[in-house]
């Protein structure tokens, strides 16, 4: 093993080192000086980004005896994940401080979660993937429970933990079957083994594959493995919901692409049907159940399920364009979703969480600017041009049409119309109804500026989407 091995994993090591510094420093910080931890956490993210930029791989580098990979895809996903974690820290600080939750643990768990995500994104073997996944999952369980005196938070943390543990167990069981059949945990070797001996492509392998897909479905929150998602989104405190709803989606995409494409791409004919079924169920159930929600966090939770269906439908195509569309969709979805949860936090204040749809009533009268930003975010999620969400849907539908599934494409657009209803309802509450709550928004300048940029980004990206789509195609070409 030479030094280049370590260079390719430098961002993760840098982050781990930075986490240790934050962990130690936080011990000496009082509650009223917690902004120091906040600053150090952001600095850690900045250093990680710098390390990512400095070690950008030219092509595909496989290290640690084949268990770790650094390629353009990992680069894009890692930069995005780091950025979204930074975004969720910035949106969260005020809320945490106002609600007596401003502890170092929030940032530390967030950073540990990011470390898990980076490992998942770079994993080239089932075992590395599992390690990253558990690092992320444990951080998330603890984050959901961070407000331990809050009954709903504690309940949803317990639910998340138990269901998550079962799903991890299932995933591990699937991994063991794949290992048993192919004799390897590394994605390249698994592919090579199946190609060399096509008779392996039979029932025992498919049995393992089914468990892997259950694990993926759970982590992504796809129907019928979605039960935890609305409860956790609603039960967790808003900053935690924001965290869970943003960057980990990128890790879930990496989980999907690495296992299904890098590892078991040759089994596309087998997994495509399974993925299609859960994807179609997700777009239908997610979008229809979202209509009747009155809690915006829960509504956005069901909407997430619907969006995950779109991402999985793009993956289902099994073409380079489909994978690029999945990446594009995930990135653009997370930009809008992070903004939407950020807005929930922005409207909250001491002892009051603006988590009901009714809390958005009359926002246009209270703050025309943030009402417009929220409108941009909702329209992007609904897939209305010229916002970026439209191009995500366009690319996914285009990829599906390319493989000849016209009926599926028609279903996708019709579901988009169903979904438009509940996003429009947010807009109508903000613009057409009178405010029940006339309090002035109390959030800090940095959160406001970042929120504004977030809203403008979904419009600007929608007006000039070309470079991002070209990047996604290039990364997965």
């Amino acid at each position: 093993m030479d030094i280049t091995s370590f260079v390719a994993a430098a961002p993760e090591m840098t982050l781990l080192g930075a986490i240790c510094v934050v962990l130690l420093a936080d011990l000496f910080v009082d509650d009223d000086k917690r902004f120091i931890t906040f600053g150090l956490a952001l600095a850690s993210l900045a250093v990680t980004l710098w390390a990512l930029a400095a070690t950008a791989p030219e092509g595909r580098i496989v290290i640690f005896d084949g268990s770790y990979v650094s390629d353009p895809l990992s680069q894009v996903l890692k930069i995005a994940a780091t950025g979204f974690v930074a975004l969720s820290f910035i949106y969260s600080r005020d809320f945490l401080a106002a609600n007596g939750l401003h502890k170092g643990e929030f940032y530390l768990l967030g950073l540990f979660g990011l470390l898990g995500m980076l490992i998942m994104i770079s994993s080239n073997s089932l075992l590395t993937m599992y390690l990253g996944l558990e690092t992320l999952a444990l951080a998330q369980y603890a984050l959901v429970a961070i407000d331990r005196n809050n009954v709903t938070s504690a309940e949803s943390a317990m639910k998340y933990f138990i269901l998550g543990a079962i799903a991890s167990g299932g995933l591990l069981y699937g991994i063991s079957w794949v290992y048993g059949v192919t004799g390897s945990l590394e994605f390249d070797e698994i592919t090579a083994a199946i190609t060399a001996d096509p008779s392996l492509n039979s029932l025992p392998l498919w049995f393992g594959l089914a468990f892997l897909i259950v694990g993926i479905g759970f982590k992504f929150g796809a129907v019928p493995f979605h039960m935890w998602l609305p409860d956790v989104y609603q039960g967790a405190r808003s900053p935690v919901t924001l965290y869970i709803a943003s960057a980990p989606k990128l890790a879930a995409l990496a989980l999907t692409l690495r296992i299904l494409v890098d590892g078991l791409g040759v089994l596309h004919d087998t997994w495509a049907d399974m993925v299609m079924v859960i994807a179609v169920l997700s777009i239908l159930i997610g979008n229809i159940i979202a209509i009747v929600q009155t809690n915006i966090k829960r509504m956005l939770g069901y909407s997430t399920i619907g969006h995950v269906g779109f991402i999985l439908l793009a993956v289902f195509c099994g073409t380079a364009e489909g994978y690029a569309a999945a990446l594009f969709y995930t990135l653009t979805y997370v930009v809008a979703a992070a903004g939407a949860f950020g807005m929930v936090i922005l409207l909250s204040r001491r002892g009051y969480e603006a988590e009901n749809l009714a809390d958005f009533k009359g926002l246009n009268a209270r703050s025309p600017w943030f009402a417009m930003i929220m409108m941009f975010l909702m329209l992007s999620l609904a897939g209305i041009p010229p916002f970026i969400g439209f191009f995500g849907k366009l690319n996914a539908i285009s990829a599906v049409l390319d493989v000849g599934y016209t009926e599926l494409a028609v279903l996708m657009v019709i579901v988009s119309v169903i979904g438009a209803y509940y996003y429009l309802r947010v807009i109508w509450y903000m613009y057409f109804e009178d405010a029940e709550d006339k309090a002035v928004l109390q959030s800090s300048a940095d959160a406001r500026v970042v929120m504004s940029l977030n809203g403008i980004a979904v419009l600007a990206l929608g007006i000039a989407p070309g470079w991002l789509w070209a990047l996604c195609q290039q990364v997965l070409g």
Binding site: N364, P368, M372, L379, I384, P385, P386, F390, F391, L394, I397, S398, L401, D402, T406, A409, V410, V413, I414, S416, V417, A420, Y421, L424, I427, W428, Y431, F432, P465, G466, W469, A470, Q473
Partner: protein
């Protein structure tokens, strides 16, 4: 003025940026304050400037060619084969002029009647104007679709924020109805992109496509355009939207947004899927005639003025689609050109007349806060000048010779006579029905004894209203008495369109 480079881009982006500027100026404080005065002046200045610049489209227009003019093309999303590709021909240019002509009138008509958040109101109309010009000038499918959908958002807000009592129901219905219609058009566009490798609309027109695929694409387009026109039986959103929308919203809906459906048929359906259009022509003619006759009867029964005009719009737009789809029932090119020209003239004319009718209702509504016909009677006694305008526009709506309403209807009826006597018979019922529902409404509202005290206290037109209705009256008469410039402008493009429509593509 034809020398301005990027004229179409200016016509799209000037109003949009003007709208953004209005949002930035904002309307805090008293609506009568100087700040809100500035805001109104900016809105009017931007819309008038846009109109003046758009005249360059007429003066610089080459009447002898069917080629696209004022073309601008720069790469937009190269990885998807989509360009920022604009251009106009004789079919789209008149509709752009209609758009830029109507918008300043809407701004003036709303000058002091909108009291809640006027800056946002004017901004929504200016942004909408830019997007509508974008729809009429886009020659790239993706760009067309982006403008087409984006347009829904300002209209959604206009109806929802400034509308009547049932505004939320009406505006959500409007949005979802039109959105559902449009998304299948997107699937059709993506399919065509897959076939041709780009989103170039002119490329779509030349691409060979099999009959089955053509039929599916036609259905995708049909849902989008039929909802927008709107054709019977997908028209039910329109009466709701019209009734609940504020005056300006109704005017823009009737005058321009409905035209996008008709424009879609001639810009996309006929040239891109000619065989499927021929296949479905009988159905389209039947639906158009049902709209003319059945919806005409429905209009007769309305008790609400706005609803009556809304149904009358559906009936008149039936003429437009009738004219377009007569092509395959006519021998010889001159008849086919006549039908499509008639439809196009009818679109422009209906834009002027329906806009004017809604403005008339708006004038009454501002004073009485009622749209019910039974609340009025004898308005001519207290508002003689207004009554003169209203009677003129009602006559135009009924198709009186000398007004623009006559020209388009006459051309379409003549064309349908050449095609089939029965088509002409049903189409001509509009001359009776249109006169019946329009003039009966005018009789009940304008003439007779003063119905009640409130009518007796009405004041006649203010200068602002006088200007708006006067300008529209002149336009209605000019197009009615001297339609030649309009027809000449469209003719080469329509002849080209007929050639495209009657050929076979597979």
């Amino acid at each position: 003025m034809g020398d301005i480079d990027n004229l179409l881009s200016i016509l799209i982006w000037l109003p949009i940026l003007g709208g953004v500027a209005l949002l930035a100026i904002g309307d805090q404080g008293d609506p009568r304050s100087s700040r809100s005065g500035t805001m109104r002046v900016v809105a009017l200045a931007v819309s008038l400037l846009t109109f003046l610049l758009s005249l360059g489209l007429y003066t610089g227009f080459d009447h002898t060619t069917a080629e696209m003019q004022f073309v601008e093309r720069i790469p937009w999303v190269p990885s998807l084969g989509a360009d920022y590709y604009l251009g106009v021909d004789g079919i789209s240019a008149p509709l752009i002029l209609l758009t830029t002509f109507i918008t300043p009138l809407v701004v003036i008509s709303a000058w002091e009647t909108i009291k809640t958040r006027p800056a946002q109101y004017f901004a929504a109309f200016l942004i909408l104007e830019g997007l509508m010009v974008g729809v009429f000038s886009a020659l790239d499918g993706l760009l067309f679709y982006v403008f087409w959908e984006a347009m829904l958002v300002p209209m959604f807000l206009i109806i929802g924020v400034w509308g009547g009592a049932r505004r939320i129901y009406a505006t959500v219905k409007f949005f979802l109805y039109t959105f559902l219609g449009s998304v299948l058009m997107l699937v059709a566009f993506i399919y065509l992109y897959r076939v041709t490798g780009s989103f170039d609309l002119l490329g779509f027109m030349d691409a060979p496509i099999g009959l089955t695929a053509q039929k599916l694409i036609f259905i995708g387009f049909l849902l989008a355009f039929a909802v927008k026109v709107p054709m019977w039986p997908v028209h039910t959103w329109l009466p709701d939207a019209h009734v609940e929308a504020p005056t300006g919203g109704s005017v823009i809906l009737a005058a321009i947004m409905l035209k996008m459906g008709g424009y879609g048929f001639v810009r996309l359906s006929l040239p891109i899927v000619p065989d499927a259009s021929a296949y479905f022509a009988g159905l389209m003619v039947a639906l158009s005639l049902i709209a003319v006759v059945y919806v005409g009867f429905v209009a007769l029964m309305q008790k609400d003025m706005k609803k009556l005009i809304a149904y009358s719009s559906i009936a008149h737009m039936g003429f437009v689609t009738l004219g377009f789809f007569l092509v395959w029932f006519l021998q010889g090119e001159s008849g086919a050109v006549l039908g499509i020209s008639g439809g196009m003239v009818q679109m422009v004319s209906h834009g002027l007349i329906s806009g004017a009718m809604f403005l008339c209702v708006g004038v009454l509504y501002d004073r009485m806060h009622s749209r019910k016909i039974s609340d009025y009677g004898g308005v001519a006694n207290t508002m003689p000048v207004f009554a003169a305008f209203m009677v003129l526009f009602a006559m135009a709506n009924a198709g009186l010779p000398g007004t623009s309403g006559f020209v388009g209807e006459f051309m379409v009826i003549v064309a349908s006579f050449k095609a089939n006597v029965w088509f002409a018979f049903f189409a001509a019922t509009t001359l009776v029905l249109g006169a019946a529902y329009t003039l009966w409404m005018v009789k009940r509202v304008v003439y007779g004894e003063v119905a009640n005290e409130r009518v007796g206290e009405l004041e006649d037109l203010k200068r602002r209203e006088y200007i708006v209705l006067g300008v529209l009256a002149v336009a209605v008469l000019v197009v009615g008495l001297w339609p030649a410039p309009l027809v000449d402008m469209m003719n080469p493009s329509i002849e080209h369109l007929v050639e495209q429509a009657v050929r076979s593509k597979y």
